[in-house]
Every structure is written in C-alpha cells, then in structure tokens.
Symmetry: C2
Subunit: 385 residues, 2 copies
C-alpha cells in the first residue's frame, strides 16, 4: 500500500483522531478508598474539603519570646526593653497563662502563641537572665506569627477530582485532617505477545526466533506507572490466540497484544477479535512508526493490538495505548513531561495528514533555549534505549 492509498483507505484514521477515539471510548475503572500514605501516584476520584484549620491555632515561626507589641516598640541596642519571663511554651504544650504588659513567654518555633501576646522576638535579638529578657533590637521584619488557617482553612477545597496525588499535596491533605480519600483504581492489564518466533527471556533461542523484548519493555513501562500487569506468549495460531483472550478477559481491565497486527496472511489478531465480536474502533493510524495499531472494545474492555517491530511497538504503545491505560487510572493529561524545543536541523516532511514520531536528543543551547537533534536510525533497540 502506498502513502496515497493509505490516505484514501477507509480504515486509516489520523493520529489526533485516534487519540481522541481512545480517550472517549475508555472510562475510569473503579474507585478505591485508600489511606493517604498509600495514595502516591493515584488520581483523586472526589473533591476534598479541609476538615480543620492548619495550623489549628496561631503559632510561632521562631524560637524566641512572645511579647506585647507596645512593650518593645522603642527597644534598641542602646536602650533595650526589659521584660519579665513568666513561663515557657513548647510545640506540644502551650503556655496556659496570659501575657500582660511588661511580660514575656519563652517559646520555640511551632509553639502556640500565648494569650495576650502579639508577636515573637527571635532569640538572636534577645539577651536572657534567669528571670528577665533584654530585647535589644526589633529589626526582624515580621511578627513571626503563623496564623490559624494560614496554611489551609477548614472548609476550603484542597483537592479536585482528577488531580494527581503528589507528595506535597498529600502533606496538605494530612495537615487538613484528611486520612483517607477516594482514588481511581489502577487497571489490571494483560500483555499478549503473539508469534511462533517469540521466546521468553531465559529460554533457548532457535534459528529465526527472537526474545520477547517488546513484552519486557511494555511491562516495564506499565510497572513504572504502578499499573499491575501479567504477560502471555502465544503461538501465531487462530485457535490459541482466541483461547488465551477468552481465558484472560474476565480477569483484566484491558488487553494489549503485540505482533500479529500487520496485514499479511499470518497476521491473525484482528481477525480473531472480529470473530469474537469486538467493537472495532480503528484499524490503522496515519502515524509512523506504529501505523499498524488497532483498537477496539471486547465486552466493553479496551484491546490495543500493537505491531510487532520494536520501534512501531514502542511508539504505538507510548502514543496511544499508554495514554488510554492511564486514562483508566484517572489521568486526563499526557503521561510525560513535555518540553518545547526547536529543531537544530532541517527535517524533510512528506505528508501533512501523517504524524511521524522521531527519536531525538534534547540539549540546552548556548542561548538558553532547548533544541533537538534527530537520532540516526541504524540500531533500533539501541536508539530506543
């Protein structure tokens, strides 16, 4: 088939349309309620409101002395204010009394501000005796008080449905009195490598066979996103493929097949799925590498059929299957951090309706902007690595 025929063929869809079809045909899986410390890498399945103020009361930002503002307004190096120390407070145990004019309470960072006090003089501006403190200098620029609810106010919306549960966000939730939240469950995925020639790592290789490198790489990608997955290698045989798919479908939320997806006599996966009555959504994509990707629903569960060649397999997986799988885990945005960069060399385009993905090296140029150079395409697996 030529590029011309590909464009005119009814089976092909453009890359952006394919991605849209994947995301619109895949729904969130299920919801779990997890303790905060188990939520890393999940996405919120509910809006969350702060239960308590954080901090719960006014606290000191410094080790020092809590005082009334009027008492130290005119203090200086030459003429320090002299205040009577009436007690001390610590982070876990507040000073229970009240501060009046001429008095100070020694407190440390994190301690509640005693009743009657208005600000905290850091200890470096003070000289202490057993009963009195000399405040020499008030050049510190703030009151050194962190007010109740200044981090977060009870009743405030602190997490929106769909947001990722990153560490600092989990800390904020903890401070706001939250201990468990609803998250989208990670989908269970099965990866099925199809081909008489495919051999699991550790087995002996016969002439014409190859190790299941796609399987290992795909499994590694999924596990780097904490997606649980199982793997199967099956023969290039209609009945074996159908048996495996029938067996695993009830146990998983999605299936990724590898190999058997391009149009030769022996490429059976799409025919098998057709005979099993899947809802085929697209069967080729105008992208390269990876044009031989098919996608559909088998009993409502997404099935991605990836081509077998390593670069096509990886690109089809990363650009279409992985965003679909992560969407099931509640992720709406792209799976990777992206950087805008300029091409450091010219690139010959061949067709506007075609999306070509090229491997490239990113570098920071002397002018501070980012540029990319394309990788030479000699060793496929090495440039991927």
């Amino acid at each position: 088939m030529t590029i011309q025929e590909i464009d005119e063929g009814t089976e092909y869809v453009g890359f952006n349309k394919a991605l849209e079809l994947v995301l619109s045909n895949i729904y969130y899986v299920k919801i779990d309620t997890l303790a905060l410390e188990s939520c890393t890498g999940y996405f919120a399945a509910e809006n969350v409101i702060a239960l308590v103020d954080s901090p719960t009361g006014n606290i000191s930002l410094k080790d020092g002395f809590a005082v009334k503002a009027g008492d130290i307004a005119n203090a200086s190096e030459q003429s320090p204010a002299v205040l009577r120390i009436i007690g001390s407070g610590f982070a876990g145990s507040r000073f229970e009394g009240h501060i009046s004019n001429g008095q100070a309470v020694k407190i440390c960072a994190g301690s509640p501000i005693p009743s009657g006090a208005e600000l905290v003089i850091p200890e470096e501006f003070c000289t202490q005796t057993s009963t009195e403190v000399y405040v020499r200098n008030i050049s510190d620029d703030g009151k050194n008080v962190f007010y109740a609810g200044q981090d977060v106010k009870a009743g405030a919306l602190i997490l929106k449905r769909g947001e990722p549960l990153l560490p600092a966000r989990l800390g904020l939730l903890a401070a706001a009195g939250i201990s468990r939240i609803k998250v989208y469950r990670k989908p269970k995925v099965s990866i099925v490598a199809i081909g008489d020639e495919v051999v699991a790592p550790g087995q002996t290789l016969k002439d014409g066979q190859l190790y299941a490198s796609n399987l290992v790489a795909t499994e590694a990608w999924l596990s780097s996103f904490n997606i649980p997955c199982s793997t199967i290698i099956t023969n290039d045989n209609r009945k074996d493929i159908q048996n495996e798919l029938t067996k695993i479908l009830p146990m998983v939320d999605a299936i990724i097949t590898s190999g058997g997806a391009w149009g030769s006599e022996r490429d059976l996966i799409v025919k098998v799925l057709d005979s099993m009555g899947w809802e085929k959504i697209f069967n080729r994509v105008r992208m390269g590498p990876g044009k031989g990707i098919s996608f559909g629903l088998l009993k409502q569960k997404p099935v991605f059929c990836l081509p077998g060649g390593p670069p096509s397999n990886e690109m089809a997986f990363l650009q279409l299957a992985l965003p679909g799988i992560l969407h099931m885990a509640g992720q709406d945005g792209p799976p990777f951090f992206s950087i805008k960069a300029r091409l450091a060399e010219s690139l010959k385009g061949r067709h506007s309706a075609w999306t070509e993905f090229r491997r490239a090296n990113l570098f920071s140029d002397t002018d501070g902007s980012y540029k990319v150079t394309l990788c030479p395409e000699i060793s496929r697996l090495r440039s991927m690595a």
Copy 2:
C-alpha cells in the same frame, strides 16, 4: 543567631559541601539479582554484555517479496520484472530453500531472509498471481533487510554499572538474551516524627497539636521512588526517642527524623544521637529553607535529622536526604529532571555563601525559552502542593 554568626560558626557547612558529604559518606546498600521484568526503577550493579545477536539472522523489514537484486534492476511501471514465486516464509518459520535468478519468496516483516535473496520488494510495488509476481517499481530507497546483530551484537557492552533500568533499556537487554541482572537493592528507610504535638492522620487533634503532614509527604516521596519505608511518631522525650532509634536501627538501612532538630531546650534529637555515639558529619547547612538539617552515621547507617517546619522539612529532604537515599539505591545523578530557565523578575540576594531555594512556577515564554516566577510565600503547604 544572625547570618553573620551563622557564617562564622563552626557547625555550619555550605550547601554544596553538605551534599558532597552526604554522597561521600553513603555507600551502596546491597545487590540483588532480579528478573528483567522486575527491574524497573533499579540501577545496574554490573556491566552487562549481550549474549546473542539481535536479530539473530537477517530479517525483512517489510511485507513483500525476497528477490535477487539483479532480477529487478531494470523493472519499471511499463516493463515489470516477472518472477516465479517458489514459496513463502513467516516470522516464526523460515523458507528453507534457496532463491535463484528469476525466483521470489513471499515473506512478511520479521521473516528471515531466505538463502540467496539480497533484498525485499515491499508488496505495494508488486502485483501477484497464483504463481508469479510482477515487480513494477523499485523506488523504495533501501534493501528492506535488517541485518543480524544490527540492533545489538553478541559481546557488545549494553549496560554499564550505575545506569538506570528504563523500559527501552530492559527491552534491549531482553533482545540480547539477558533474563536476569544484578541491581542495587532499594534501602529500607524509617521515618521518625518527633514531637508531643504531632498526631497521625485519622486521630483526633487537641489544641496546639498538628497532623503529621511531613511524615505523609516524605513517605509519599520515597514511595514514588519505590523506596520501602516505615513510619513512627514519638514523643519529644529523650528516652522515648532513644528507645525508638535503638529498636528500629537493626531493621533499616537509613533513618530520617522530622522535628526536634532546631536549637531550643526541647530539641533533643541531636543530643540523643550524640549520646548514642553517632558520627556527626554536619549539624547545620547554609541553605534556606532547611538550615536545621543534621546528618551523621549511627553504626554506619545514615541518619538525616530534618527540621519540623513543613517548608524547611521538605527542602532539606529533597535537596539532601533524598539524594543520599537514592545514592544508596545506586543513583549517582540528581533525583529530578532539571531545566535551565531565566528569572522573569529580579531577586534580591543577601549573601553569597548562603544557598536559598525558592519555590517557583515554570513557564514557556513567547521566545521559546523557559522562565520562572517566584511563588508568593503566604500559605506554606498550599504553595508546596
């Protein structure tokens, strides 16, 4: 203490010196041998050599016909070459015969190139009858043969000690016949939150108490790097702290404490560690936030004492403790992807020997370069999130 005194004090070290002291006093933990599919996120503890060529033989890059070059040299749309089809080969089962002049073998992408054939004509340039193939056009620009060892040659160094085991790298290792490799084990970490005022999420909060948000955030950071960790909350009491440290030390590879690290009467952690005979390596760092971080070795195991205030705690953790912990897992580089960007606003510096970390928003400017703006520092936990 003023900035002046800080610089002159003997206990303080600069940030870069502190990071160097952390990395030079921490060694790799232990080595495990893992199956490739379990290696995601680990670092290699050995150099690895390819065991087999990949591919093992010459294979076709296209679905099409394997032929001799001379037979199709003058083929054209007007005068196609006519070749006799003598058989077919698939990815898992090679055509066992030999191709002579005037003959072709139908093969698909991934099939071994039959003996005698020199190149593959893609099927879109051919018209096929039951016994013959008409090659109309040879405008395709290559031979469409992927040669034995072109991905990787047996004997080649394909993984160096210390390299991260990313998905495509694991695929390359699988293709090269590797099934298990030696990796650095992830260290077991215990996080100890110190303070009478600290309460675990889910418990009831009394006046002056606060939820252990540092503990939750630190645990989440470690688990995002797949570092196993346990957590403990202990009272601000010398004996309790010592008992907890004594109990957990034999079970873990490193300890991170939170709180109790700044110099007031109740800040006990460093005193407790001194009394337990730790080797104190530094006890303050010229950085902000996070200056109150101490680091040392207790029975050879690294102990990081982080300050209790959330911004100080997070920054001391991310800039010094986390690189140290990841170094134990075999990572030599920085833990985060970094981007060079220009400040979009001016920033007033106060001291050259001091390292100040500021939270910022990164954006891509209209000229294609990256710029940062500083976050306002009103709500600490919100700007961190």
